[in-house]
Symmetry: C2
Subunit: 139 residues, 2 copies
DNA sequence: CAACGACTTCAAGCGCACCTGAAGTCAACT
DNA sequence: AGTTGACTTCAGGTGCGCTTGAAGTCGTTG
């Protein structure tokens, strides 16, 4: 049985975040000892699930929906998010590459460096950027 | 010479966002024709730079700092952000893999699937996750 | 001349994920 | 008995990146 402080430390989140998750219905209300929350060890896993889904770009409200809905709906939500996530990862990777190049490229005005430029152009082209990276992880 | 609406369409952002960028000093105040902003074609590139840096995780305030500071400071900021970005990309990728597995794994309670589980454990371990992926792009 | 559509400013509001502070409770320790 | 430290609730605040709405100004068109 963990106090909220202990759980927070194990999961690497703040106590206020844990109370907030509970308030949203993402974390089940734990047992109480004279008013104080006592979590089972397994609660850390639940927090881990929340963090993982957050990393995947699910808002907390979406995560609540995941808990409530049926398997088919969950699946649909997941697929949609997965596509968004791939898009976002591709964007982040492209931005990373442009920035990284900018650092080792001794061009005085970075925005005029043809390599960096390519990143900007790609970003403005936008939308269909997913195509180029989608093949990298096809499932 | 583009109106704000035309620039917005080309850059794929809202007109209010463009005014906001200008207000923050990220976008130079353009010429005006009877009160209305008229942008040179080159402005689209500038917006592209903002979007690219945003993708890289720079807040707008940080981007303003990038414009103001000296090359050495810029470089320092960039390197710091790059590390953060790598961390974030690794996290997103790990989350993606866990979610993707969850979709094709027919386990009833997904959180009990050993493969998904690994993602959670890794997420809770946290911090040193950067090590595993850092080698993938070493500059 | 009237109306339309795109623009203008300015203040206020929004969504998200918490955080902060006040005021209180409780168990344990000295 | 007093103090410490970790907890409790609750209302309101924060930061970011815009968005929204009101009220007005243009140039063009019917």
């Amino acid at each position: 049985m963990l106090t909220i402080g202990e759980l927070a430390r194990r999961a690497g989140v703040s106590t206020s975040a844990l109370r907030y998750y509970e308030e949203l219905g993402l974390l089940p209300a734990p047992a109480r000892v004279s008013g104080q929350r006592r979590y089972p060890e397994s609660a850390a896993r639940l927090v881990g699930v929340i963090l993982l889904h957050s990393d995947a770009g699910f808002t907390l409200a979406e995560q609540k929906a995941l808990l409530i809905n049926e398997a088919s709906d969950r699946s649909r939500l997941m697929r949609r998010k997965l596509a968004e996530l791939d898009e976002q990862i591709a964007r982040a990777q492209a931005a990373r590459d442009a920035i990284a190049h900018g650092l080792r490229c001794p061009h005085d005005d970075i925005t005029r460096c043809p390599n960096f430029s390519a990143g900007i152009t790609a970003r403005l082209a936008g939308q269909s950027l997913s195509q180029s990276h989608q093949r990298l992880h096809e499932n």
